[in-house]
Amino acid sequence: MKTLWDLAANQSAVVDTIDTQLTTSVISRLEEMGFSEGQCVLCIRRSPFKGPLVVQIGDCVYSLEQSVADKINLALAS
């Protein structure tokens, strides 16, 4: 399945679910930050050497590292 980590720069997608491998407190924080089902997310930047990526969701811009971004699943259609 495609995750947020697979998103290229300037590409947008729709958030699907968050992998339950993350602890519930991290999942709920991500939801509070806007990463919940049906929300549109835009990748602003990819860093070289698998550094954190930068995404825009709702009214905020966040930077997430791989271990978090690859647990956020995306819906196929964008």
């Binding site: 993350l22 602890t23 407190s25 991290v26 709920s28 924080r29 991500l30 939801e31 509070e32 930050m33 806007g34 919940s36 602003i44 930047r45 860093s47 070289p48 050497f49 698998k50 550094g51 954190p52 930068v54 825009q56 709702g58 009214d59 905020c60 811009v61 966040y62 930077s63 997430l64 590292e65 271990s67 978090v68």
Partner: protein, 605 residues
């Protein structure tokens, strides 16, 4: 006293509003081991408490947990009359998630809530508006649109506050209960859709600047430039201030001791109080300058970008992107660097960073390096025929310190990972808008950093200074060699033997626990020289004539790279980690490690 509690998400301009309400007189309460700071000030007859910026009542880290716990207590307290939820008008959705949770919490405790739509000037700058009245009806609590920066609407809010505090009934339209997590999120989204402004408008400027500052090439150049500026500021620009402080202390010391006349009291005041405790006051300007620069970086929004740029390389060593600035600052002085580690989001990485900062070669090691390098390496020697060998040796020592720090942090990370993996805070960082920092909260922070340092370090430094002075002074008039300290030096000489050093070095090393640079002066005294600090070359020649083997000399240098010979750092570590065990354990740990490295060097070379 009736209390007003101020809450909001990070970067919503809450601190500035707090400053506008209370003025510059405020008290800061710290809690050992965490970065949580509660600021208390006064507005009219009310006490105003500023809580740290929080994203949610559901805490992720220990710091957040304590902040939320304190908030729960404060809202529950009968003195608390009003909870002010500060919202970022340009980011309504994100601010409302937390604000609605707080509203539910306040209602459970029968406390009145008021919402402040801060930074309304930003919204208006885009030619947009927010219907505060309609939002007020939806939220069932008063909404005040204002800008703490331009002061627009602030006086209206101030005038309304006494009445808001006095209201007894709590009208509230919120139907969500605490614990109904997703409902808060949905409600915030719904309200934002109806009243908020379009996010692409808000984020346009920010993203445009980020295209430059986060660019792989240009962003890298900008990063290096900014870090060079930071390094310069703590190293060279703080110098005149430090010199001034030193001169002032020296002047007071000579005036007071001159007035007392010769004798033990004068010696005590001069050496233990002004020499020992006074010497650490010299660091206060440096700490304040660094706090100022980091404050500017943080408030302008760049600090988050710097963390993003550094995150990947530093994560290889178990550190966070935010460890970079503390590490860099550590090359000037470990104390402001340890304070700068407060910005690290993960408590575990913050601890690892703090514990490895003392391995950075700080400016107090410079005199020690200068002396020993001058002893060991002829000034005209070259390295590979091009580089000055003394310069190369200095570089090598700095490099060795950095490598040791990275090795130690990697090991600490490996040994603590399993236990803490579940509780660790992942790297999730909000990139806030770029803003011009406001001087009021900055000035407050700078003053506070100096006060905090003095409060925390002074007692420990006083005690150590007192002990060392007593040991070095008695029996009276015997001189350092025949003093108690000298006797201890002779007694423990076997300990220093494997390092190829005699008792004189041992005594100088013990003396330098107060601060590393004391080593030079103390060793000078042992070699019968006064004022060795000003005549490093002279002392170096004496040591050369006395005969210090190359292996022992290199060992001693490496010892000073690794050993935590600084009581102020130990005191600061104790205060910041909240545990004496960690601070003194680290002192012993690095001491043993430094000893082993030095013994190995003396043995091999």
């Amino acid at each position: 006293m009736e209390r007003i509690v101020l809450v909001g998400k990070p970067n919503c301009g809450k601190s500035l509003l707090f400053n506008q309400l209370t003025g510059l007189r405020q008290k800061v309460a710290n809690f050992p081991g965490v970065t949580v700071e509660l600021k208390t000030g006064q507005f009219n007859q009310f006490e105003v408490v500023d809580f740290p910026g929080t994203y949610s009542l559901h805490s992720l880290s220990k710091d957040e947990e304590i902040a939320v716990e304190k908030l729960n207590l404060a809202v529950d307290d009968h003195e608390t009359k009003l909870v002010v939820c500060v919202l970022d008008a340009a980011r309504l959705e994100r601010s409302l998630v937390f604000a609605l949770q707080v509203q539910a919490l306040a209602r459970r405790n029968n406390k009145a809530v008021v919402f402040v739509l801060n930074m309304i000037d930003e919204v208006e700058r885009y030619g947009l508006q927010i219907d505060a009245d309609a939002l007020q009806a939806e939220l069932g609590a008063p909404v005040y649109a204002l800008s703490a920066k331009t002061l627009q609407g602030v006086s209206e809010f101030k005038n309304a506050l006494p009445e808001l505090v006095a209201q007894t009934t709590v009208p509230d339209a919120l139907t969500i209960q605490l614990g109904e997590q997703t409902k808060f999120i949905e409600r915030a989204r719904q309200l934002n859709a109806a009243y908020g402004i379009r996010s692409d408008v808000v984020l346009k400027n920010q993203n445009r600047i980020d295209r430059f500052l986060l660019n792989n090439v240009l962003g890298g150049v900008a990063f290096l430039g900014i870090m060079f500026f930071l390094f310069q500021s703590i190293f060279t620009w703080a110098q005149p201030l430090m010199d001034g402080t030193e001169a002032a202390i020296g002047w007071i010391a000579s005036t007071v001791t001159g007035w007392l006349g010769a004798g033990m009291a004068a010696d005590f005041l001069n050496d233990a109080i002004f020499g020992g405790v006074g010497a650490f006051l010299v660091f206060v300007p440096q700490i304040m300058v660094l706090t100022l620069i980091i404050g500017i970086l943080e408030d302008s929004g760049y600090l988050a970008r710097a963390a993003l740029i550094c995150h990947k390389p530093l994560s290889l060593f178990g550190l966070s992107g935010r460890s970079f600035i503390p590490y860099l600052s550590g090359h000037a002085c470990a104390i402001p660097a340890i304070m700068a580690a407060r910005t690290i989001e993960s408590p575990r990485k913050r601890l690892i960073t703090m514990l490895t900062i003392p391995l950075m070669s700080c400016s107090a090691r410079l005199p020690v390096y200068a002396l020993l390098v001058a002893v060991l390496i002829p000034s005209d020697a070259t390295f590979l025929g091009v580089f000055d060998l003394q310069g190369a040796a200095f570089f090598g020592l700095y490099f060795f310190g950095i490598v040791m720090a990275l090795v130690v942090s990697t090991l600490m990370n490996l040994f603590t990972r399993k236990r803490h993996e579940l509780n660790d805070m992942p790297f999730i960082l909000e990139l806030p808008s770029y803003r011009l920092p406001h001087w009021k909260p900055l000035l407050q922070r700078v003053l506070n950093s100096g006060v905090q340092f003095i409060k925390r370090a002074a007692p420990v430094i006083f005690i150590v200074s007192l002990c060392l002075w007593t040991l070095g002074y008695f029996p009276q008039g015997a001189g350092l060699e025949h003093s108690l300290l000298g006797k201890i030096g002779h007694f423990i000489e076997p300990i220093f033997e494997p390092l190829g050093l005699d008792w004189r070095y041992g005594v100088a090393i013990m003396m330098s626990f107060l601060a590393r640079e004391v080593f030079v002066g103390a060793l000078g005294t042992m070699f019968g020289m006064s004022g060795a600090e000003e005549n490093i070359a002279g002392l170096a020649a004496q040591i050369q004539a006395d005969g210090l083997s190359l292996g022992a000399g290199i060992g001693l240098l490496l010892f000073y790279v690794v050993a935590l010979q600084c009581v102020a750092t130990v005191a600061m570590l104790r205060a910041e980690t909240g545990k004496s065990r960690i601070a003194w354990g680290l002192y012993v740990g690095y001491g043993v490690l430094a000893y082993c490295i030095a013994a190995l060097a003396a043995h091999i070379i």
